[in-house]
Amino acid sequence: MAFSTRERSLTDIPSTALKGESKPHHLANLDFAVLQQCIHCGMCLPTCPTYDTTKLERNSPRGRIALMRNIAEGHLDVTRAFGEELYFCLGCLACETACPAGVNYARMFEEARADIEDAGVLRYAKRDFVRAVMLRFIFAHPLALKALGRLLRLYQVSGLEWLVRKLRLTALLPADLRELEPLTPRIQPDFSDQLIGPVESPAKPGYRVGMLTGCVQDLVYPHVNRDTVDVLLANGCEVVTPAAQHCCGSLHAHNGELTLAREMARKSIDDMERAAGSLEHLDAIITNAAGCGSHLKHYDDLLEHDPQYARRARLWSHKLKDIHQWLAEIGITPPQTTGGSQPSTINYQLPVTYHEACHLCHGQKITQQPRTVLKSIPGLKLVELPESTWCCGSAGVYNITQPEMSHRLLERKLDNIAKTGAKVVASANPGCSVQLEAGARERGEALEIVHPITLLARAYRKGGEHS
């Protein structure tokens, strides 16, 4: 998702200001160079999951770009069909990896979705309500998100969930919500701030890093955050973790709420500065969620025209590192082995395969580093996953908005996993993990979906026991 320096950026017009008017200013204000970059060569078509399924140009990167260009040039209005098309797109960015011309699809995609929301072509009561609750309330206020998490947790552990399913009360839910219900991830009893201290230091600190705990990660996989901190400590990093963190805003940016996304970005910077004193005092800011990372790295573009934040946002983007990327940069401290000729402390009877989250491999071009992490674990046998970079269908809230396409992609992913024979799947994005776990459950397959960093943390702990 490389935002090239040539482009002009968006002006900060509140998304509500133009509601009802269908002047698509977001795309229209994009620099000619961004829109014109696509030479319609078609090299991206075979890597696009939606084109691969339908074989229709409109469902391809090249087709979508053509429509966006027509809108920017005023030859097409922001229509409902256009809106639906841009929400059928996964935002997986496989097209960016494939494109030799360096097309900045992510930028166009976000601007297009902002135009769609402004024009209100997809508006109907239920969607508006869900969007308002999700984007403007729950994912905008950390306490609201936690409260929702607690409620869900209560539902899951109180036996209520069991009862509701048993009595088939889910049949009373509207069809689309009913389908979603099994996707609801298990909410964990403790959130990250209960598991991680504000500042944790190793014996001999070599670096000082800030830690981002994420939203979904924090609710569903808080232990991954604990594991990340442990891994950082084992690699000589002092870890500063702001207690109350805001959502990074990626959900907002991808769903056409650029103004809210900027708001979230400013708050995230504030959170970190408050905890660390200043960003200058940090060697890196660490994220372990691919989807967040790919957005977090672009705060510099997002806040480019904010006089108060532009400089800090540049510093932020410069320091922002995915955990695998950071470990590879500083050189991973290998987990200890039991010594002697027996190199393995953890004996993985079963091989591990690695699923590449779109926003890691396409969004951040991070492909080798997670493999380096996995290969550093003594005794771990990494088997390559066929089509490892093909989207699993999770794609933010895609599994909620486009269940059919999402499910098709999930099936394809699970089939590929089955081909490897691996029962452990390493995946570095909470969205993918939720999706893969739900898929495995549905098929009755015993798959463990685990973050590469969790595997590494386990190896450190094992090594510690033996040495």
Binding site: Q36, C41, L56, R58, L67, H75, T79
Partner: protein
């Protein structure tokens, strides 16, 4: 500006009677995405797009169109570089991508039979499963259709030793302008019963018939290959190497050339460590019996050094070799990184004239103050001088026009041609008369009139 032609409702009713209505597109948001192919600055009007799934459906559409005299524009994946599939006003765009099955792999006769919409790479992969090779490998192979390849008579990176698409077409099923279906050719290695009609349809750019199935020849996959990269401080030295290798009676499968600008763009995309300080590189590959290629590889390396290569690198393994080939295939699209508009040319000269042609292109760039990135299939004498320009700059576009004409004229003067593999389509139509002469042009016209008397198949392409 893209326009949508006003639809004839009767036409849509007829088409939806022939095809599942889901395979008849009329919505504006669909149509706008079929107005272009891979050619720069060309855009057409789209009325309706149809996706037949069987030859019978194609035939029915053509019969209806013939009766109503409605033009039909065939389309594969729309990667063409001469505007061949750009629609005419009020035409039916007939897209073959949903006829993409591979029907038969015949190991006894070394042939493969596929529907026209099958993707080139899928054919290569299928052949590979049984140790066979389908050699033509255009840069667009991962998405181009085999029907499009036949209709353009596409070349590839292995043309020097293995030839081009034409050399592998043994037969085809074609729907004629009348809607009649004919089979041309067969699995026989030899066949002289009548005119070789399949050859007429190869390279016909959708103007003579609609190809629905293709029968292709396969060859045994070579046991080994050796891949090398030679770097040069001058383009002349690279061209000299090519001439010297051929003069030494060595026929490698690949001799591809990239100049400095192209190297930079490709490296920006592929990040495989190409030398950014070289003026030119040659990507060379030889395949065959391990002992033979070992010997040939050594000779080629020696020749390259003798001709002034500053360094020669040998790919350590198949993976490295593949990465190089993939990077080379991205050359054209990667050049688009430089400027808003990328116009690719396809001038081809006899191999002995390569050095002259390259020098001439450099001269044209300087004289007209233009940026030209050049790469190409040097072993075939096929160069792709690519103008890196901006279509909004009218004054510069005029200079591009002049420069292009000079390059074409000079290629013809050297005994070459205006297009080696991309076809005439719309983009080179006006240069065709000078390139082939009036007598040939008349013959082309006569053939077109015989096979398509009402001119409904891709009208206005190649010539008016």
């Amino acid at each position: 500006m893209p326009r949508i032609s006003t639809l004839n409702p009767q036409l849509v009713t007829e088409l939806t009677a022939i095809l599942d209505p889901k395979r008849v597109l009329t919505e504006r948001e669909h149509l706008l995405t079929y107005g272009f192919d891979g050619t720069a600055a060309l855009q057409g009007e789209v009325g309706v797009v149809v996706f037949p799934q069987t030859t019978e459906e194609v035939a029915k559409i053509v019969r209806y169109a013939a009766q109503e005299k409605i033009p039909i524009v065939s389309r594969g994946s729309g990667t063409g570089l001469s505007g061949g599939s750009i629609p005419q006003p009020n035409a039916i765009v007939l897209c073959l991508v949903k006829m993409d099955r591979i029907l038969e792999l015949d190991e006894k006769n070394l042939t493969i039979l596929a529907e026209a919409g099958a993707i080139t790479q899928k054919i290569t992969e299928k052949a590979d499963t049984v140790g066979l090779l389908y050699p033509p490998d255009p840069g667009s192979m991962k998405i181009s259709t085999i029907g499009g390849n036949v209709a353009e008579n596409s070349g590839g990176l292995r043309g020097l030793k293995y030839g081009i698409t034409r050399d592998y077409v043994m037969g085809m099923e074609v729907v004629l302008a009348s809607g009649e279906v004919v089979w041309l050719g067969n699995k026989c290695v030899k066949d002289v019963a009548g005119y070789s009609m399949k050859d007429v349809f190869i390279g016909s750019e959708g103007t003579l018939g609609i190809i629905t199935k293709v029968l292709l020849k396969l060859v045994p996959r070579p046991a080994a290959k050796k891949t090398m990269l030679a770097m040069y401080a001058t383009m002349d030295a690279a061209a000299d190497t090519v001439s010297a290798i051929i003069a030494a009676k060595i026929i490698p499968c690949t001799l591809e050339f990239l100049d400095r600008i192209t190297i930079k763009c490709v490296e920006d995309f592929a990040k495989i460590g190409l030398p950014l300080d070289a003026e030119a590189i040659l990507f060379m590959e030889t395949d065959g019996h391990p002992a033979v290629i070992e010997e040939q590889g050594k000779q080629m390396e020696e020749i390259a050094r003798r001709c002034g290569a500053t360094a020669v690198q040998i790919a350590a393994n198949a993976d490295e070799a593949n990465k190089l080939a993939t990077a080379r295939r991205s050359a054209f699209s990667a050049l688009a990184r430089v400027s808003p508009t990328t116009i690719l040319e396809d001038a081809t000269v006899p191999r002995s004239e390569l050095t002259k042609m390259i020098r001439f292109i450099q001269g044209v760039a300087t004289r007209h103050n233009l940026r030209i990135g050049t790469f190409g299939h040097m072993g075939d004498g096929n160069l792709h001088p690519t103008f890196l320009t901006d279509e909004r700059n009218h004054e510069e576009m005029e200079r591009v026009e002049v420069a292009m004409k000079e390059i074409f004229d000079y290629a013809i003067e050297l005994g070459g041609t205006i297009t080696g593999e991309h076809g005439v389509g719309l983009a080179k139509k006006k240069f065709l008369p000078d390139a082939i002469g009036n007598a040939s042009l008349t013959l082309l016209r006569q053939l077109k009139r015989t096979l398509d008397p009402d001119g409904i198949l891709n009208p206005g392409k190649i010539f008016d």
